[in-house]
């Protein structure tokens, strides 16, 4: 594994994995469930990341240079381990396709209503396949340029929105007790669980043990942005929030500074396109890498374009319309995503630790 990233690059890769989509969707969702206390919901969600760190840490200590797919394949044999790896890759590709579809739906509903969805998605998919083929280092460098700009931009947009913000909308705090907040904090968990991809990339760090730290910092920043975004949506729109599908976008539309900066939501969409590009690239890269490691193939780069094509077809064909997608997101995804996100690493690493000493896994 000569393709390496630095802890800062990993930190920056982790941000869009959650934020690319969560910044737009989470404020509305938590606002619906927890009302004016919605901004507190993201704070509890990173618990799932703590679970991930707890699972991955023993592996990191034992085999800092190996991914859990490799450990699982070694411990459970090529058939069971490989199957688990393919399951993980399938989840990865599937989730990426869903993300891609969400991306396309938002884009075509806000900016390009007349452009065919396939055209919009095709361009993004080609970009994703290209960077993934060029490797993790290149992706890390891309993230280093794009993600700081994007995050600064999002924070500036949210700060500009303070003009119309009325923070009395956030009071009284915890009117209905902690119940709704706890229930609402389940929502961002789905996004934070996707950070398992970043844990997958830990072995690619120059110092793999810095991985959990980078991820923890990333979680802190993500929580800050999500909380701030939810609070701004609430402060700007108060009880109307549940009726807005993408409150953050409406917040951006409301901005008007000195009759000069007005209606800047297309700029937010631009940032969001770039964020989604990095997020999808991480998914795509991990998909290809997982397939390579599960099947013990030579290079992952040959998989880049086929996997991207599959992703595009899935994204276009999986749902007929947005309503179907929302229904699927609400009812099907929560049933199987956590099992793959947490379950597959747990089985692989657990088996590795159990079998490890007997077969002297670490020797290679």
């Amino acid at each position: 594994m000569n393709e390496q990233v630095s802890p800062i690059q990993l930190f920056l890769l982790a941000l869009p994995v959650v934020n690319a989509t969560a910044v737009l969707f989470v404020p509305g969702l938590v606002g619906t469930t927890a009302g004016r206390d919605g901004w507190m919901a993201p704070i509890l969600a990173p618990v799932v990341v703590l679970i991930l760190i707890a699972i991955f840490r023993p592996m990191l200590r034992r085999w800092p240079q190996r991914t859990f797919i490799e450990v699982g394949r070694e411990a459970l044999g090529p058939w069971v381990g490989g199957a688990l790896g393919i399951l993980f890759a399938g989840w990865c590709l599937h989730t990426a396709a869903v993300v891609l579809r969400e991306f396309g739906e938002v884009l075509s509903s806000t900016m390009l209503p007349l452009t065919p969805l396939t055209v919009i998605l095709l361009l993004q998919v080609v970009a994703v396949a290209w960077i993934s083929r060029n490797g993790l280092s290149a992706l890390g460098r891309c993230a280093e340029i794009m993600i700081p700009i994007n995050n600064v931009f999002i924070v500036i947009i949210l700060l500009l929105a303070t003009r119309d913000a009325d923070f009395r909308h956030l009071q009284p705090v915890l009117e209905h007790g902690p119940g709704p907040v706890l229930r609402a904090s389940i929502i961002p968990v789905a996004w934070f669980g996707e950070l398992v991809l970043i844990a997958f990339l830990w072995p690619r760090l120059k110092q793999p043990r810095k991985g959990p730290v980078a991820l923890a910092y990333a979680c802190i920043w993500i929580v800050l942005v999500l909380s701030f975004g939810s609070a701004m949506a609430q402060a700007n729109f108060g009880p109307v929030v549940p009726r807005l599908s993408l409150p953050t976008l409406v917040v951006a539309r409301m901005i008007s500074i000195g009759d000069f900066l007005e209606r800047i939501e297309p700029l937010l969409i631009i940032v969001w396109v770039a964020d989604n590009f990095v997020k999808l690239s991480v998914f795509h890269y991990v998909t290809c890498e997982t397939i390579r490691q599960s099947l013990n193939l030579g290079r992952a780069s040959v998989l880049a374009f086929p996997a991207a094509a599959l992703m595009l077809v899935l994204a276009v064909a999986m749902f007929e319309h947005v309503t179907q997608m929302s229904d699927w997101l609400a009812h099907v995804l929560p049933l199987y995503a956590p099992f793959v996100e947490v379950g597959v690493p747990l089985i692989c690493i657990g088996a590795g630790l159990l079998v490890g000493d007997r077969r002297s896994l670490g020797s290679r």
Binding site: S6, I8, Q9, L107, M111, L112, T115, I120, L123, Q124, A127, W130, I131, N134, G135, S137, A138, L139, G140, R141, C142, E144, I145, M146, D259, F260, L261, E262, R263, I264, P266, L267, I269, I270, V273, A274, F277
Partner: protein, 507 residues
Amino acid sequence: MTQSQKSWTGRAAEPWHDEPVSPVVKQNKARLQQVFGSPADLFFREVDAPGGPMVITAYLDGLIDGSRLDRDVLQTLVLESGGPAGTPELPAPGGTALSTLGEVAQQILDGALVLFQEGLTVARAFQIQAYPTRAVTEPEGETSVRGPKEGFIEDLRTNLSLLRRIVRTPNLRLEPMTLGTVTHTKVVLVYLQGLAREQTIAEARSRLQRIDVDSVLDTSTLEELIEDNPWSPFPQLLDTQRPDVVAGHILEGRFAILASGSPTALVAPIGFGVFLQTSEDYYERYWIASLVRLLRFFFASLSLLLPSLYVAVMTYHQELVPTALAMTIARAREGIPFPALIEILLMETSFEALREAGLRLPKAIGQAVSIVGALVIGEAAVRAGIVSAPVVIVVSTTGIASFTMPRFSGAITLRILRFPLLIAAGSLGLYGVTIGLIFLMIHVASLSSFGMPYLSPWSAWSPQGLLDVFLRAPRWQQRRRPQTARRDATARVEYGLGPTGRNGSDM
């Protein structure tokens, strides 16, 4: 003499190449005349003083110093040939022994005076070259108000001496090699031993040695042959005509390539940020240098993006424009027969044509072209209602922005990339621009210059590395050399060297 196609490329040695120098001097002369084809400028001078062996000198007129030929060579030969039979010692540098005709021919072509002596099977070469060279002047493309005004010229020896006079250490390595099977161009790899990374230098050396072409007319030939990604629109080596720029770069662990006949040195490994720097930045005070750099970054991005942003916003996202401005633009665009994309493409193309037309014309006519062009395009086209005034403003701002880029080779890249972005903006609006930028970013992030990431100062994310990218921090702040230097040679300035009231004199 029939010369096969193959020998013309000079790759296979010609039959006379390994022929030994004959002890009979007249025969050597005859052979040389045959090999060179009795040209107008190949001169022989026979000295056959009584009592001594016969001596013949051969040289190319125009490559050697006539006065030294008279004073040092002929006088010595005539005066000393009466003495004991031996090899005459000439008061001239050189004296290299040559044993084959090939070596002799090469030395003559290099401008040496070759001396044959009756009875000896070795000839000797004396270096008394003198040929017309241009004066050392300030390069036109890289002028500076403050700082040295020397520039490279076409003569390699002069260029190397300019460098030697700036960096006076035996660690300054000048590795010679000869490239071009026909032109036999001298190429020198310059670096600082102990500061440059060994693997980078080894890579540069092997890439240069791999070159197998007939001619090297300029360092640009080498550039195209040693780039990491030959298809990229981005230059991966910096071209400069200033010795102080080369010195500054090799002091940061980079290497330079100079070639005889070329006033342009190549520098690598570099990142794209280098194309936004000038030597002036380092001679002016850091406040103005930093602010000017930020200005350049801003205008460089404008030169890439402004036309496509205009097209995207005017075609797809009119709501982004402040209301009053949108009204003004709408009024200006009223009655214009073309969509914004076509308007911009028309204007951009004519602007590029205008620039190209004015470039190579004599100065007097060039001005006429630009006046006519400005009048026709700026004034008449708007009056006639063919293009709108905002488009003229956008295109001319873009033109000015691309001129703020101090390095031509970098500015060209952005100029080219502007057009695909324009098409993307016209077809998909801001999404097209963003996707275009993402594609650009993927390419740049995957690019490297001699193993260094092309984005290295940014992607390094070390505060020290960034001190010399967007800003030009004061010298005493730039404590570390960039990544290009060897890892054990990063310390440049000691901590706390900044002038303060405490560590100066008592004043």
